[in-house]
């Protein structure tokens, strides 16, 4: 292809990527390095139905002048990244020095919002992603061997969890596992413990969130693998059969190697999705037990006072986290493609 043809061919998409991906990221990075100006506070008389009282208030005129002078705010460099609500360098440092052994250090670390969120996010990602792939694969194999007439309805039903909006799906499960819901009561009966409550226990809450994550995402893996199964060479399968391979051996030595590029694809998408787990935490009102980086961003923006710089810093940390998480998969894909064939 001529260079100029290539240039004109990619120009529109390059422009759109710049506009919708690169610019917002640049803006978030910029925002995360600025904080609000030093607030000019004044004491004013505040009157209302409960009487008058002197209170501290922001001097709007003075603040306006500061903002007009430097609209971005005060340059803070990496200060926000380093503060206690993010990477908490100084807190981690002093915990490392003062900790009474590793468990004590871990406990202090889990008390810091960023590390607490990371602990749940990473556990969630590394448990839900492989289980989604495994379940998706076995569902695909099972559906593939269903009688032809039943295939359509089976596929539709299997896809349902993926179709239901995450917020709604998790709300439904939230009420089902309530101590007075059908699943909650069932669990109490199973465990023989009438006081058992999923919503009150951190480990059970984590399990429920992960269960939800797998339930919601397995149909996605299923549909990808199911499509892949249609392309398995039937001659190779028959050859394996003649060689005496049983069903499991055929799956293990013929089907799985054939689907492996798809596993990489599903793993990539799921790692990204799971790392920014958010909806179930909101729907399950689980923030007392589990938080994630996305939840922290939501929390920063949803308070009475919006913490824009803090949310921006957490967003950048999320991007870095996803990049680190995906790098092994990406490197592997790159090697596969650049292998001389």
């Amino acid at each position: 292809m001529k260079h100029s043809t290539f240039f004109w061919f990619v120009l529109p998409s390059a422009f759109l990527m710049l506009l919708f991906i690169a610019l917002p990221v640049a803006s978030v990075v910029t925002q995360s390095m600025y904080t609000a100006h030093e607030q000019v506070l004044v004491t004013v008389e505040n009157c209302g139905p409960f009487g008058c009282k002197p209170v501290t208030s922001i001097d709007q005129e003075a603040t306006k002048a500061l903002n007009a002078d430097k609209p971005l705010g005060k340059w803070a460099g990496l200060d926000i990244y380093k503060d206690r609500n993010h990477l908490a360098f100084s807190e981690v440092g002093s915990a490392w020095v003062n900790a009474d052994g590793l468990p004590d250090f871990g406990k202090t670390l889990m008390n810091l919002p960023f590390y607490k969120a990371m602990a749940f996010t990473l556990t969630y990602t590394f448990i839900v992603t492989p289980l989604t792939i495994i379940f998706g694969f076995f569902i695909a194999v099972a559906v593939n061997s269903v009688a032809k007439a039943l295939k359509g309805p089976t596929i539709f039903l299997t896809l349902l969890p993926f179709i239901v909006t995450p917020l709604v799906g998790s709300l439904i499960i939230f009420w089902m596992v309530d101590a007075r819901g059908i699943l909650g009561t069932g669990l109490q009966w199973l465990a023989n413990n009438p006081d058992l409550s999923v919503k009150a226990s951190t480990p059970l809450m984590w399990i429920m969130l992960m269960f939800y994550g797998i339930w919601h995402a397995a149909p996605f893996a299923f549909v990808v693998f199911y499509a892949g199964l249609q392309t398995v060479n039937s001659e190779s399968l028959e050859a394996a059969m003649i060689d005496g391979a049983n069903r499991w051996e055929r799956i293990r030595y013929v089907v799985i190697p054939h689907l492996f590029p798809l596993v990489t694809f599903v793993a990539l998408i799921q790692l990204m999705d799971n790392f920014r787990v958010f909806e179930p935490i909101v729907s399950f009102s689980a923030q007392a037990h589990a938080t994630s980086l996305s939840y922290a961003i939501f929390n920063d923006l949803g308070g009475e006072t919006r913490l824009l710089s803090s949310a921006a810093a957490t967003s950048v940390l999320t991007i870095i986290g996803i990049a680190i998480l995906l790098s092994p998969v990406l490197i592997r894909t790159y090697r596969d493609f650049s292998k001389p064939s």
């Binding site: 609000a36 506070l41 004044v42 209170v55 206690r84 009150a200």
Partner: protein, 415 residues
């Protein structure tokens, strides 16, 4: 206190002055501009919004009432022109709007269209009218008179009394978890802490500064009392907001709780609960904690603002519609019991007694400080760990202070 006076003198004032001047003064001849209201969702605000929309029916008028109003009002008022021409706010949430300078001083509009608005309804900051309050609100004890009678206990006036009564109810086998409370992690939980801390007599900040100071004996006392109460609550308390707690009440699972005055009407009407529950539901006074004698509750007003970034016609239209909607014309048999209205002509109903008693007990207003929202958020994120027994009260308080300090530094309140 003003509210108490209005409640007792309200009828007399109304009779003496007559409400006609105000009701007819706003004939709702709004022909220009645009009205769009954003606000919280509970019966009183729904009534106000409905009246404002009816008044502004001649022009483009909308209302968006949602429990998530705080997440959208600032964004919806920051544009130019602003999407929302009026935000219904409380004494906590107005601060964020004033901090960002998106609400308009109302003095000129009051002079032109609001001569009838009594001065106690005007919220003035540094001499400028920034909002018009229309109702008072507070949290107070709500109890089941039949259950207390069954165990032979008096109505508790302190949290210590609540614990005692709860133990008696549990011991008598009437209810497993007789105490309720909006303890959902986040805003609700922090609000309970704010109330309890006010009850101990503590100050949130070093006077005149943004330096937080809650890691003290008062803070520990407040947290310890909250934890003691949770022992008598449904184990899922960290997921129960005001709505869920009200449902627990209506289901008859709870006999004692600290609840918003604006929600008692729903608990005492005959919808959603059995007769044994609603007919025995009584609004009590505020509770105290320890021996400080302070009410462990904060006073709130709800009021409306007018956006800054809108045309003068829209500002005038919004002001007139909202002023009409919060005038004595709003009061009728249905709306009278929905809130402790601040308008002339309000007659206190049994459901309002809790809020009036809280005002009479001299409870402090929720602090209207530009950095209070940051402390509220920090508290909401860090108390659950203590209630679940993962850390000490001192550690939880230290966490709140540290989280607040980081946020306040970012916002420029601390250096």
């Amino acid at each position: 206190m003003n509210v108490f006076k209005i409640a007792t003198l309200g009828t007399a004032t109304a009779v003496l002055m007559g409400t006609t001047a105000m009701a007819d003064g706003h004939a709702c001849a709004i022909t220009d501009g645009r009205v769009n209201i954003v606000g919280n969702e509970f019966p009183a605000i729904q009534s106000v919004a409905a009246a404002a929309l009816a008044c502004a029916s001649g022009v483009d008028a909308e209302a968006n009432l949602t429990a998530d109003h705080q997440k959208i009002n600032l964004a919806g008022m920051s544009g130019n022109p602003a999407e929302y021409t009026s935000a219904v706010v409380a004494n906590s949430s107005i601060v964020a709007l004033i901090n960002e300078d998106v609400v308009r001083p109302l003095d000129d509009l009051v002079a032109m269209y609001g001569a009838d608005i009594p001065s106690h309804q005007l919220i003035t900051i540094d001499g400028q009218v920034m909002a018009v309050a229309f109702m008072a609100n507070a949290q107070h004890l709500v109890y089941r008179s039949d259950v207390l009678a069954q165990v032979g206990m008096d109505v508790p006036t302190s949290y210590e009394g609540v614990l005692e009564a709860a133990e008696a109810i549990r011991a008598a086998g009437i209810m497993d978890n007789p105490v309720g409370g909006a303890y959902a992690a986040g805003w609700n939980l922090a609000e309970e802490f704010v109330n309890m801390y006010l009850g101990t007599g503590g100050d949130f900040f070093e006077t005149g500064t943004a330096n937080v100071s809650i890691n003290n004996e008062d803070g520990v006392e407040a947290l310890e009392m909250m934890k003691a109460l949770t022992a008598y609550m449904n184990p899922d308390y960290l997921t129960h907001d005001s709505n869920a707690t009200s449902s627990e009440w209506e289901a008859g699972n709870v006999a004692l709780m600290n609840m918003w005055g604006s929600r008692t009407g729903v608990l005492m009407d005959d919808e959603g609960a059995e007769m044994a529950v609603y007919s025995n539901t009584v609004a009590g006074g505020p509770l105290t904690v320890g021996d400080s004698g302070n009410a462990a509750s904060s006073l709130w007003w709800d009021g409306w603002t007018v956006a800054k970034n809108i045309s003068d016609e829209s500002a005038a239209a919004t002001f007139q519609a909202m002023a009409y909607a919060t005038s004595p014309a709003l009061l009728n048999d249905e709306t009278m019991s929905q809130a402790v209205w601040l308008m002339n002509g309000f007659e206190a109903q049994p459901v309002n007694e809790g809020v009036l008693a809280t005002v009479a007990a001299g409870a402090s207003p929720y602090p209207m400080l530009p950095f209070m929202g940051l402390l509220h958020t920090a508290a909401g994120d860090n108390i659950a760990d203590f209630l679940q027994g993962n850390e000490s009260a001192e550690q939880a308080l230290a966490d709140i202070e540290a989280a607040y300090t980081a946020a306040a530094t970012e916002q420029g309140f601390l250096q």
